[in-house]
C-alpha cells in the first residue's frame, strides 16, 4: 500500500498537547480579561460571501484572500462566491449591520477566532492565526472616554501574562494630520507616504531618510524635514512629561487642537483607570495604516524585546460599517495576534511549555481490583481533580514512566497492603517522593498539593522584571 505523506500546509502552527495547553492558557487569560471589562462574545463563520468580505479592500487584502468552493461549483467552473475571513473587523462590521436592531449600543464585543491569509510562506508569517479583538461600537457617537478604556484592558492582559515590562504607545491621527497641515502638507496620502519613510529611520538611518524626503519625489525643504523628524521623534516618559509634551504643541489649527485635547483626556482617564504611568507613553510616530483610523491609535511593545514589534494594536475609527448600512457606527478597538505572539514568545524564550491538565494517574496494581481503581478515580473527578486511570495491565515502573512522560504529577496506588489498612500510596513524580494517606484524606491532601503547586508555580516563574533584564 502506498502512503500519503502526513503533513500540514506551510504557514500554519500546529502544536503538541503541552504547547497547545500553553497557547490555550494565553487565550484563556485574554478572554478572562475581556470579560472582566464587560465585553461580550460573538463568533462569526469562517466562510463569508466574497462580495461581503471584499467591499472596501481591493489591493493587498484581496491578493491574500483564500477563496472557497464546494465541489459542485468547482466542476461548473464558477468564480468563487465564498471566501475565508482575513480579519475580524470586516465580519464585525457585517455582523453589526446585519443584527443592528437586536444589539444594545454601545456594543461591546470580543471575538477570538482564527483568520486566514494567503501570505507567502516565510518564517514567523502565518496563513492561519488567532486574532483576539475587542471593539466598542457606538450608535451615531461614541465618547473619547472609551479610547481610554482600551489601554486599561491591554494593561490588565499583559500584566497577567507576565511576559515582561511593556509600554502602550499612544498617538492620535487628528494630531498627526494637524501637524502636517501646519507644515503645509494637507494631502492625507502624502502624509502617509512621508510617515512610511519616517518608519524606515531605524533601518536606513536619518541621513538616507532625509535624502529621500528632500528629493524630487517628496520635495520637502530641509527645515520641514527637520520639523517632521523632531515631531515624530516625540516620546514621553511618565504622565507629567506626556502632558507637558502636549502642552508644548503650538496648536494653531483645528485638527491639531482636537488631537491634543483628545490625547490629554485619554491620558488623564488612562491614569484614572489605574494604569501605571510606566506602562503608557506618547509616541508621535505611530500612524497605523492609511485609511481606517481617525483618532487615538495604539501600539504595545515589550520593553526588552523591541524586535518583536507591536503585540497589540488598534485605534479609533469613524464609521465601522459604511459599506453595509446608512447608520453611523463609530468605534474603538484593538487586536492581539495570538498565534504570532505565542510564536514570538517561544522564540524569545518567554513562553513556557504548559503543564498537563491531568493531575492524577490511578495506577493498576492488580487487574482484579480495577473496579475499585475506577471508583477511586470517580471520587477524584467528582472532587474536581482531573484523573486518568491505568486501564492496561503493565508493570508499575512502566506506569510511572508513562505518567512522567505525559506530564502527570501524581500516581495514586492502592495495592493489597494499602487496601488492608485503608490507605492510599501517592507517588509525587515532580518531587520524587512517595507518601501514604488514609483513603478518606486522599482528596483533601491532593487538593492542598495541587493548590500549593499552582501558587508556587506562579512564584517559581521568573518575575516580570527578571524576564526583561537585559
Amino acid at each position: 500500500m502506498s502512503f500519503t505523506k502526513a503533513r500540514t500546509m506551510p504557514g500554519v502552527m500546529e502544536l503538541l498537547p503541552l504547547d497547545q495547553i500553553a497557547l490555550q492558557n494565553l487565550l484563556d487569560t485574554v478572554r478572562r480579561n475581556f470579560e472582566r471589562f464587560g465585553f461580550l462574545p460573538i463568533e462569526t463563520p469562517a466562510i463569508e460571501f466574497s462580495n461581503v468580505l471584499l467591499t472596501k479592500s481591493g489591493g493587498e487584502t484581496e491578493r491574500q484572500v483564500y477563496f472557497v468552493q464546494s465541489t459542485g461549483s468547482l466542476k461548473q467552473g464558477e468564480v468563487p462566491e465564498l471566501a475565508l475571513r482575513f480579519d475580524l473587523t470586516v465580519p464585525l462590521a457585517r455582523y453589526v449591520a446585519e443584527h443592528e436592531a437586536q444589539l444594545t449600543f454601545p456594543f461591546r464585543r470580543y471575538q477570538m477566532q482564527r483568520v486566514y491569509r494567503g501570505e507567502s510562506a516565510q518564517r514567523g508569517r502565518f496563513r492561519e492565526f488567532y486574532q483576539c479583538d475587542i471593539d466598542v461600537i457606538g450608535k451615531d457617537a461614541l465618547s473619547v472616554r472609551f479610547d481610554a478604556e482600551i489601554p486599561a484592558v491591554i494593561h490588565s492582559i499583559f500584566s497577567e501574562l507576565k511576559i515582561g515590562a511593556f509600554t502602550i504607545q499612544l498617538n492620535n491621527r487628528k494630531l498627526l494630520r494637524g501637524f502636517f497641515e501646519q507644515q503645509g502638507i494637507a494631502d492625507n496620502q502624502q502624509q502617509m507616504l512621508i510617515l512610511r519613510e519616517v518608519d524606515k529611520l531605524d533601518k536606513r538611518g536619518p541621513g538616507r531618510v532625509r535624502e529621500t524626503l528632500t528629493s524630487a519625489d517628496f520635495g520637502l525643504s530641509a527645515e520641514a524635514v527637520d520639523a517632521i523628524l523632531a515631531f515624530v521623534g516625540t516620546r514621553s516618559s511618565g504622565h507629567q512629561d506626556a502632558l507637558a509634551k502636549l502642552a508644548a504643541i503650538a496648536a494653531d489649527n483645528e485638527s491639531l487642537r482636537v488631537g491634543v485635547a483628545e490625547l490629554r483626556e485619554v491620558l488623564e482617564l488612562v491614569r484614572a483607570f489605574g494604569v501605571p504611568e510606566t506602562n503608557y507613553a506618547l509616541n508621535f510616530s505611530i500612524a497605523r495604516g492609511l485609511d481606517y483610523y481617525t483618532g487615538t491609535v495604539y501600539e504595545t511593545t515589550l520593553d526588552a524585546h523591541p524586535e518583536i514589534g507591536s503585540i497589540c494594536s488598534g485605534g479609533r475609527y469613524e464609521d465601522l460599517a459604511s459599506h453595509y448600512t446608512r447608520s453611523k457606527l463609530p468605534g474603538v478597538g484593538i487586536s492581539i495576534g495570538a498565534t504570532r505572539l505565542f510564536w514570538q514568545l517561544q522564540q524569545a524564550g518567554l513562553a513556557r511549555r504548559g503543564q498537563s491538565h491531568v493531575q492524577v494517574l490511578v495506577a493498576q496494581m492488580d487487574a482484579a481490583e480495577l473496579p475499585r481503581a475506577l471508583g477511586l478515580a470517580t471520587q477524584l473527578r467528582m472532587a474536581g481533580i482531573n484523573t486518568e486511570v491505568q486501564l492496561e495491565s503493565k508493570k508499575l515502573a512502566r506506569q510511572f514512566q508513562y505518567a512522567d512522560r505525559a506530564g502527570i504529577r501524581f500516581v495514586v496506588m492502592q495495592g493489597a497492603d494499602e487496601l488492608a489498612n485503608g490507605t492510599v500510596a501517592v507517588k509525587d513524580l515532580r518531587r520524587g517522593e512517595q507518601f501514604a494517606v488514609a483513603e478518606a484524606e486522599l482528596i483533601k491532601t491532593l487538593r492542598v498539593e495541587i493548590e500549593q503547586s499552582r501558587v508556587m508555580g506562579d512564584a517559581a516563574l521568573p518575575a516580570a522584571a527578571a524576564v526583561v533584564a537585559p
Copy 2:
C-alpha cells in the same frame, strides 16, 4: 453610495451575544469533562492539503468538501490543492502519523473545532459546525477496557448539561457480524445494506421492510428476516437484563463469541466507572457506518426526545492512520456535534439564553467623579467581578435601561450622598431592589449575591426529570 447586503451564507449558525454565551457554556462543560477524564487538547489547521484529507473517502465526503484557493492559484486556473477539514478524525489521523515519535501512547486527545461541509442548505443542516471529539489511540494494541471509559465520559458530560434523561446505547460490530454470519450472510456490504433497510423500520413499518428484504434484491427467507428483526430489535433494560440478553445468545462462531465477550466486559466496567444502569443499554440495531468501526459502537439519545436522534456517537476502530503510516494505531472515540446539538436543544425548548458575563455596571452620577467610578470598577475587577463603567454621561434612568437590556444585574452608584457617608448604592435589576452598603463591604456583598445567584440559578433550572416529563 450603494450598499452591500450584510448577510452570512446559508447553513451557518451565528448568534447574538447572550446565545453565544449559552453555546460557550455548553462547549466549556464538554471541555471541562474531557479534561476531567485526562484528555489533552490539540488543534489542527482548518485548511489541509486536499490529497491528505481525501485519501480514503471518495464518494459522499468528497462531494461535500470545500476546496480552498488563494487568489494566485485561482488566476492560474489550478486545481485546488487545499481543502477545509470536514471532520476531526482525518486530521487526527494525519496529526498522529506526523507527530507519532513525539506523542505518548495511549494518546488521549480532545479536539473542539469547527468543521466544514458543503451540505445542501436545509433546516437543521449546518455547513460549518463545532465537533467535540475525544479519542484514545493505542500503539499496536488498545485494551477493550478503554471502550468502557467512553460511556463514563458521555455520562459525566450529559449529566452536567442537565438536558434531561439520556441513554447511551451500546452495540458491537463483531457481534453484528457474527450474527449475520450465523444467518449465512457473510458479506459485509450486504450486512450493511440490510441494516440500512432495518433502520427504516420506524418510518416505513415492519410490513414494507419485510417486503424489501424478502424481495429479489435481497433474497432473504421469511425466517431469516424474522430472525434479523428479532435480533436487531434487542434492547436491554438495566444491567442484569443486558447481561442476560448477552448470555442468551447462542454464540456459535468466533466473531459472535468475541463480540459477546467484549460487550460483557464493557458493561461490567461501565458499571464500575459509576455510570448508573438507567443511563446505558444494549441496542443491537446500532451499526454506525460501513467501514470504519470494528468493535464497540455508541449512540446517545435523550429519552424524552427520540426525534433528535443521537447526540453523541462513536466507536472502536482497528487502525486510525493506515493511509499515512505503517504503524498500527487502534483507537476508540466519540464525537459531539455541538452546533447541531445546541440548535436542537433550542428547538426542543431545552436551551436557555445565557446570562451576561457582565455582573456590574458602575453608573456615572457626575462626570467630574468619573475617575472615582473608574477606581471603584478597578477594585471590583481585581476582585474577579466583571464590571463595565458607564462612560458616557446619561440620565440614570437611561443607564438602568441599558444595564437591563444588556443583561447586567447590578448597577453600582456613588453620588454625593453616598460619597459623603462612605457608602455605595446597589440596584439589583433582577430583584428590582436597591440597597446601600458601606464602600468597604461592596465587594463582599456582591460576591455573596453573585455566588447565591449562581447556586440558585442552577436550582431554579427545571430539574432534569421535570424537563423530560412528557
